[in-house]
C-alpha cells in the first residue's frame, strides 16, 4: 500500500517536473511546479516528517509560487518571448552539466558520503516541531542566525537596487 502510494507520488512529481521545463507557456509551467512541490510535501508526510511537509506547502506552494505567478501575470509574457535561446553554446554546456550531475548522483548513491551509509534506512527521528526547533535554535544556532542576517542583507540589497533604477 505504502509502496503503491510512493510510486504514484514519485511518478507525479517527476512527470510534472519534466512538464515544468517542457511547457512553452510560463504560467502553465509554474502551475506544474506547484504540483511537483505538493507531491513532494506528501512524500514528506509519508516519511513521518509532518512538520517539514506542512512547511513545504506553506512556504513553497503557498507563498513563493503565488509570488511567481503574480510576477508572471503582471509582466504578461508573450509566447514568443520563450523561443529558443540564440546563444548556441548553452546547449553543449547544459548537456555536459547534466552528465556531470548524473554521475555525481550515481556516485553518491553507490559510494555514499564519508561517515554515512549509502542509503539510509527508516529514520528514528520523528520530525516533530520541537525536534526541528531544537536543532535550529540549540544545535545550529549560529549558522541559522548568520543565514537569517544574510537573507536580510539580500532583501535590503534588492530594495536599494530597485530604488536606483526608478
Amino acid at each position: 500500500m505504502t509502496l503503491a502510494i510512493f510510486v504514484v507520488l514519485a511518478a507525479v512529481s517527476v512527470i510534472s517536473a519534466l512538464l515544468v521545463i517542457s511547457q512553452k507557456n510560463s504560467v502553465i509551467s509554474a502551475l506544474y511546479l506547484i504540483v511537483t512541490l505538493g507531491s513532494q510535501a506528501v512524500l514528506y508526510f509519508m516519511l513521518g516528517a509532518t512538520f517539514l511537509g506542512v512547511l513545504q506547502i506553506i512556504v513553497y506552494a503557498g507563498a513563493i509560487m503565488v509570488l511567481f505567478l503574480f510576477v508572471i501575470m503582471l509582466l504578461n509574457l508573450k509566447r514568443d518571448e520563450f523561443g529558443p535561446d540564440r546563444r548556441k553554446g548553452q546547449r553543449v554546456v547544459a548537456l555536459l552539466l547534466t552528465i556531470f550531475l548524473a554521475v555525481e548522483i550515481l556516485a553518491a548513491l553507490k559510494i555514499g558520503f564519508p561517515g554515512h551509509t549509502a542509503l539510509a534506512g527508516p529514520s528514528t527521528v520523528t520530525g516533530a516541531p520541537s525536534e526541528v526547533a531544537r536543532s535550529l535554535f540549540v544545535d545550529y544556532l549560529y549558522p541559522f542566525e548568520i543565514v537569517s542576517i544574510l537573507l536580510l542583507v539580500a532583501i535590503v540589497g534588492v530594495i536599494v537596487l530597485v530604488r536606483k533604477r526608478i
Binding site: 506542512v54 506552494a61 516541531p129
Partner: protein
C-alpha cells in the same frame, strides 16, 4: 479496524453535511441581516419567511447555461472554482467542535483528525486558497478578471504574513500546535487567549477578513471598478462554487477564531457542540455586521495598512509576549 473506519466515515459525513447546510443558509442569513441593517425586509417569498431561498438559488444556478469565454484555457477555467472550494472545505477537518461523546459503547472524539500540527495545517490549506482566484483570473482571458486576480493575490500574500504572526503569541503561551490542546488550555473564562492576547486577536480577525476577500477588504471583486473581479466570466454552478468557497471560508475563520481565542467548545451548562456553534455564529454575525457598516478600502490604503501597521504591530506583540513569558 472496521469500526474505526465506520466512525471516521460517519464523522466526515456528519460534519460535511452540517457544514454545507450552514454554508448554504449563510447566503440567506446574510441577505436577511444586511436587509435589516438597511431597513429593508430581504428575501421572504420562497417558503415560510423565505427559508427555502437557498434551495431556489441552487436550482437557479444549476440550470443556468455554462459559458466558456473565447480563448479561455478550458481546463484551468474549470479547475479554478474547484481549487478555491476544496481548501475551504478541508479546514474543518482539524477543528475540534467538542470534547468527546460515548455512542453505542464507543468513545468518539469530536474532531475529525486530531493532528499535532493542526494550526500549521490550517495555515497551509488557507494559503492554497489563492490559487483558485489566480487561476480563475488568468484563464478567463479577460482584463477585469486578471486585474481582480492580481489584486487578490497581492492582498492575500500581504495579509497572510500578519495572519500567521498574529497567532504566534497564542502558540507561545499554549506551547503546542495541536488545536485540541489549545482549546483544553482555555478551560476557564480568564484563560481565554482573547484576554491574554487582545492585540493578536484583533490582528487575526482583521487579517482573516482580508484573507477572505470580504468587505471592507473586498477589492478583488470591487464591482464599481472591476465588474466582479476574478469571477467576472463565470456562470452557472462554477460561479456558485466561488460563492460557496467564500461562505465556507467565513465559517472557517470564525471557527478558528473561536478555537484559538475564545476557548473553542468550552462553556458551562450547555453541551460543547452548542457552545462551539454559538461562538461561531456570533463571529459570522460580526462579519456580516462589518460588511453592512464599513466602506471599502482604497488599494494603497489596504497595502500600507497591512505592511506598515499590522505587520509591525504583530511583531511587537510577539516581542512583548516573549518578554512577559521570560519574566
Amino acid at each position: 479496524m472496521a469500526t474505526y473506519i465506520l466512525i471516521a466515515t460517519l464523522k466526515v459525513v456528519v460534519v460535511f453535511s452540517v457544514f454545507m447546510l450552514i454554508v448554504a443558509y449563510l447566503s440567506y442569513v446574510e441577505r436577511r441581516l444586511v436587509a435589516r441593517f438597511q431597513t429593508r425586509i430581504g428575501p421572504n417569498r420562497v417558503g415560510p419567511a423565505g427559508l427555502l431561498q437557498p434551495v431556489a438559488d441552487a436550482i437557479k444556478l444549476i440550470t443556468k447555461e455554462e459559458i466558456f469565454p473565447d480563448n479561455a484555457n478550458k481546463l484551468l477555467f474549470l479547475l479554478a472554482p474547484i481549487l478555491s472550494l476544496v481548501p475551504a472545505l478541508l479546514i474543518m477537518s482539524v477543528v475540534p467542535f467538542g470534547d468527546s461523546v460515548t455512542l453505542f459503547g464507543h468513545n468518539i472524539d469530536l474532531i475529525i483528525s486530531d493532528i499535532d500540527v493542526g494550526v500549521l495545517f490550517v495555515f497551509a490549506v488557507t494559503s492554497l486558497g489563492v490559487y483558485g482566484v489566480v487561476m480563475a483570473g488568468w484563464s478567463s482571458n479577460s482584463k477585469y478578471s486578471l486585474l481582480g486576480a492580481l489584486r487578490s493575490s497581492a492582498q492575500m500574500i500581504s495579509y497572510e504574513v500578519s495572519y500567521g504572526l498574529s497567532i504566534v503569541g497564542v502558540l507561545m503561551l499554549a506551547g503546542t500546535l495541536n488545536l485540541m490542546e489549545i482549546v483544553e488550555n482555555q478551560s476557564s473564562l480568564l484563560d481565554w487567549y482573547i484576554f491574554k492576547q487582545p492585540i493578536g486577536f484583533i490582528i487575526f480577525l482583521i487579517c482573516g477578513i482580508a484573507e477572505n476577500n470580504r468587505a471592507p477588504f473586498d477589492l478583488p471583486e470591487a464591482e464599481s471598478e472591476l465588474v466582479a473581479g476574478y469571477f467576472t466570466e463565470y456562470s452557472s454552478m462554477k460561479f456558485g462554487m466561488f460563492f460557496m468557497a467564500e461562505y465556507a471560508q467565513m465559517v472557517n475563520v470564525s471557527a478558528i477564531v473561536t478555537t484559538l481565542f475564545l476557548g473553542g467548545w468550552q462553556g458551562p451548562l450547555l453541551p460543547p457542540v452548542v457552545w462551539f456553534l454559538i461562538k461561531v455564529f456570533a463571529f459570522i454575525f460580526l462579519y456580516i455586521w462589518i460588511r453592512a457598516t464599513l466602506p471599502r478600502f482604497r488599494y494603497d490604503q489596504l497595502m500600507s495598512f497591512g505592511w506598515k501597521f499590522l505587520l509591525p504591530l504583530a511583531l511587537l506583540n510577539i516581542f512583548v509576549t516573549g518578554i512577559f513569558m521570560y519574566l
